[in-house]
Subunit: 177 residues, 4 copies
């Protein structure tokens, strides 16, 4: 963990999340037709819709594919959802290109991932973050390791910390969903 | 936690519960069409149907929407179910209006919630209660924090404590469901 | 817990299980149409099919109803499945009547339950057993409280202990399922 | 546990896994039609597709049957999937026959199982492995007991240890899925 990661949070304007093991606990049910049924967490959902309402970019990059999860994330207001991303760095570069005109740079992005395919994105991001139960290779390079596991509030944790630090938490509009 | 919360339980005639994170553990599966598949707990279900049988008002107020959960709660005998409640205080006021003719007042209501959108309702209720894993902002204002997590018996806990205190637990009729 | 419960196990010829909170962990998913989707445990399933193969009576009594679970239990070889049993004592008496001609008596039955509706059956059974996370009223009258929770191997635990005590565990036929 | 099990890993060319309780946590949902809905873990999935990409044989032998799981495992690149295997030793022998022409021998196989029907396969395999929550009879004969439970990364653990020992972990190709 980096000592000054709280300082780094001042520059964050975008949150980018891996799905399996970050937005979910890494387990998924297998439907009779073989399609994965993932789980999400309502506390994470609250934080993501709030950050979007406040003007943050919130995006997801996943190696897997799941139409159901895409619909849920869209319902929270998320527009940038990359699925079937076998090389995640391609999606990362695409996202930066999309928001280049708004001046978005890597140091403005917090990326949270839990496994080897997330490795290079954690190194690129302004803040590389990991859930408590991330792979050891990921935890060792993360600027911040959340005390929460994937699917158990790690996403809420990093959004909440950032909004608090930017004096943008528990304002009047925050009590509605 | 309030020292005299047990005394406050003597006045309780109604239980009002948030759904995600209170009646459920906050996690939900995402069906292929994006609709959430929530989980409930049979020990909570036993307590709610018992309280209803004994004449208590038992209600639910949720920011989300789920027809399946509504049907389950109806099967327990619950009549007042507010879903898609983006401002929960509106539902709270509606519930009070519905039972005004029976003399129901805020001090007769135990409200249990786990996150920021529940904040003002915990302040209004006679007893504001929270599951063990509620957001810290909620736990800090709760008169009672259950030792049980959401979806793991926190609802059973507050109903059971209230019925015991009112000498209304383990009577003959309680052994049937 | 009763000190001599291991002695009592010598007389056991039948296992009767509650479903929610014993064969399951007490949580259930709610399908979009409101029907409950329960969970079972493969280690419990192995033990039940083995006990049936060895000639034990294995039965289930549940206050709820679930066709899917009924089909799974039938696939293990279970014939006596009571669902929608709002007064469980009626099902208990029916089961005894069914096996009266084989000389089955209450002292030959181990009953495992986790909540108030199971109370009187635990008192009737030769061995009243409970999972670790049973309601306190149930644990206090159980002759045996398993170290395992509902849905996490408590059923396997009581079957395994009984078969071991009766020198009927890890025989040649036990390695197939 | 065997002291030199790490040495034994040098000879491993094939991984064979039980499904319930190894690739899953042993719990399964029961669909309304009685069919089991199993859970898998994305960290295990990453490790299996990686091992297959690197030329290892990765196979599954299960006493149960599940078309959905079969499709998921096929999507990872797994070709040898034995289901409805009531006598697992038959499947084991068949697998050895399939790869005989490549010189595969029992000492080249790591088998991971968690319950009595896996007993003889653990004894046959070059490395008999078990998840932390395996049945005690299985743990007692395993050369290696993982610190991870079934469905919580025990499969990832044994694949990762083997690839690391063979200097085949975190190479360039490993960052894609």
């Amino acid at each position: 963990m980096t000592k000054n990661y709280k300082e780094l949070l001042h520059h964050i304007r975008a949150f980018v999340f891996d799905i399996d093991g970050v937005l979910t606990d890494g387990k998924f049910q297998v439907a009779p037709d073989g399609s994965p049924i993932r789980n999400l967490n309502s506390k994470d959902g609250y934080a993501m819709q709030l950050a979007i309402k406040k003007g943050f970019i919130v995006a997801a990059i996943s190696g897997g594919h799941c139409e159901g999860v895409k619909k849920r994330l869209r319902a929270l207001g998320m527009t940038d959802i990359y699925m079937s991303a076998s090389h995640k760095m391609d999606s990362w570069k695409d996202l930066l290109a999309v928001y280049e005109h708004q001046g978005l740079k890597p140091e403005n992005i917090l990326y949270m991932g839990d496994d080897i395919p997330d490795y290079h994105l954690l190194l690129e991001a302004g803040v590389g973050a990991a859930p408590a139960n991330a792979a050891p290779e990921i935890r060792s390079i993360a600027q911040y390791v959340s005390p929460r596991d994937g699917g158990d509030g790690c996403v809420r944790d990093v959004i909440e910390q950032t909004l608090k630090l930017q004096d943008n938490w528990m304002l009047d509009e925050d009590f509605a969903w």
